[in-house]
Symmetry: C2
Subunit: 155 residues, 2 copies
Amino acid sequence: MADAPQGPPTARDRAQRKADTLARLQGDVDLWVASADGEGRAYLVPLSFYWDGATLTISTPRASRTGTNLARAGWARVALGHTRDVVIVEGGVETLEIGTDPPLEDAHAEATGFDPRAEPQDYVYFRITPDTVQAWRESNELQGRRLMRGGEWLD
Amino acid sequence: MADAPQGPPTARDRAQRKADTLARLQGDVDLWVASADGEGRAYLVPLSFYWDGATLTISTPRASRTGTNLARAGWARVALGHTRDVVIVEGGVETLEIGTDPPLEDAHAEATGFDPRAEPQDYVYFRITPDTVQAWRESNELQGRRLMRGGEWLD
């Protein structure tokens, strides 16, 4: 009998990782959002997102910890996928008030199944423009995990 | 023909959530660690962990961003599970040098499949003692998501 496969699969090349990453950005609904306040207290929640091909849009109550942290920092680090199929995106955050971009707001509601415009609480949108993107599965993929730097996909 | 099920399943009661949470702590290998530096820059990585029944032990290079952030803050917010089956633990962090607690270090290596004592880099352990635990799946479980407060499981 053949032995069961040992160890992780062969590391993906950059083109494959980029394709897998774009598929996640297009198909996934949720991500993990890390944020911090000005005193260095970290916070972490899952939120739904919408990917328009270039930016990620999320929405959360203005007064929530994530909302105040992102508005303060103007920068986000978010993770898609699972702990053994990681996509990490970092980038600048723009705060968008409800009503600023109705087509984007419609697309966000459709992608997430959640419409902050219908909520009684005071929600805002945060649009994240990726500056760096990393993707890896197992430790053999840590090398070569950077897919985007300074907002540019690497060749 | 019967319709497909609509909406999320019925919200779990607290006893079920606690049982599910303990099963995750016992059986899962990885979690997401949010941390921040003193200037309020958030960071987020997946790490393997060991649960001894009361505390979570992780290990990372002393000089890594997560290592310096956790040592500085003395507090961690970590997430197990997936974005639709969330377990979030917050608690104080104790830094343990390699060699402090060999049985714990052996158990960590066995649980995670990774032994920082064998690495060329300078690793340390961080032991997280849960202060608050929350668990939810869909939005209908946001109410009642607190399972532990002040280090005590709620009845």
